[in-house]
Amino acid sequence: MSNSENFAQIKKKIHLFFDNALDNSETENLLDKVDNDPKYSSIYRKEKDFRDFVKSNISRPTVSNDLIQNIKNSITQK
C-alpha cells in the first residue's frame, strides 16, 4: 500500500468519524489508532481544527423579534 493510498483511506475514515457515519466498533478502532499512530493523530487533529474553525467562525445572524411576531400574526390570522 502506497503512502498516498494510505493517506486517502485514513482521511476518509476520519471524515466518516466526524460525520458520525461510523458504527461503534469502527469508531472505537479509529480512536484507538488516533491515540497510537502519529499518521492518524496528525490527520485527525487537522480535520478537527478545520471543522472547529469553520463551526466557530461562521456568521450566525440573530432572528429579529419582528420576524417572530410576523410569523405569529400570519399563523393566527389563518
Binding site: 493517506f7 486517502a8 460525520d19 474553525f53 469553520v54 456568521s59
Partner: protein
C-alpha cells in the same frame, strides 16, 4: 429558528431575504403540517421546506447567486489552469466589504450545492441520510459533494490566510500530500 436563519442567510447572503425565507418556511410548515410524519426529524423537515422555498422563490427569480453547473465546478477544481481563480475572484470582489469574516466569505465562494452540504453537515450536524432527503440526492452524492466542498473550502481558507501573511510550515508535502488524494 436560529439554525434556519443561519442556513437561509448563507443561501441568500441578505438578512431581509433570509428572514423572508424563514417566515415562508414556518408558514408552509403550518399549512402542510398534515404532511409531516410524526416521529421523523422535524428539524430536517423544516430545512427541506426552506431549501425548496429558496429554490422555488429565490433562485428562479435570479436574486440568488448564479447557478453553477456541477460538472463545471469539478473541472474547475481539478484543472491546472491558473485561470480557474477567475470565478473565485469575481465573487471575492462582491464580498470585499466583508473582509474579516473569512469563513463567511469563503463559504460564499462555494457553489450553492457545495455550500449547502457543508452547512447541513458541518454546521447543523445532519447525517448523510438526512441531508440526502433534504436536498433530494443519493447518499453517495452527499458524501462526494462534502469531500469536494471541504477540499475547496480548505484551499480558500488557506489562500485567505496566506493573503493575510500566514504561512504553512507543516512541511508535510510529499509525505502526506493532500492534493494528490481524491476520494472519488
Amino acid at each position: 429558528m436560529d439554525a434556519l436563519k443561519t442556513f437561509a442567510y448563507h443561501l441568500t447572503y441578505n438578512d431581509a431575504e433570509a428572514e423572508d425565507l424563514v417566515q415562508e418556511t414556518y408558514l408552509k410548515a403550518h399549512k402542510f403540517i398534515d404532511r409531516y410524519v410524526a416521529g421523523t426529524n422535524a428539524k430536517a423537515w423544516l430545512f427541506k421546506i426552506l431549501k425548496n422555498a429558496y429554490i422555488n422563490e429565490y433562485r428562479k427569480k435570479s436574486k440568488a447567486p448564479k447557478k453553477v453547473d456541477f460538472e463545471d465546478v469539478i473541472s474547475w477544481q481539478d484543472s491546472e489552469d491558473p485561470k480557474k481563480q477567475g470565478f473565485a475572484d469575481l465573487r471575492q470582489d462582491l464580498f470585499r466589504d466583508r473582509m474579516g469574516d473569512e469563513v463567511t466569505i469563503s463559504l460564499n465562494l462555494l457553489p450553492i450545492d457545495f455550500r449547502t452540504v457543508i452547512l447541513l453537515c458541518d454546521i447543523e450536524g445532519f447525517t448523510y441520510e438526512e441531508i440526502s432527503k433534504i436536498i433530494d440526492v443519493p447518499i453517495g452524492t452527499v458524501r462526494s459533494r462534502l469531500f469536494r466542498a471541504r477540499n475547496i473550502l480548505k484551499e480558500l481558507l488557506k489562500s485567505y490566510a496566506e493573503k493575510l501573511g500566514y504561512k504553512d510550515y507543516r512541511g508535510l508535502k510529499g509525505k502526506f500530500d493532500e492534493s494528490n488524494n481524491e476520494e472519488e
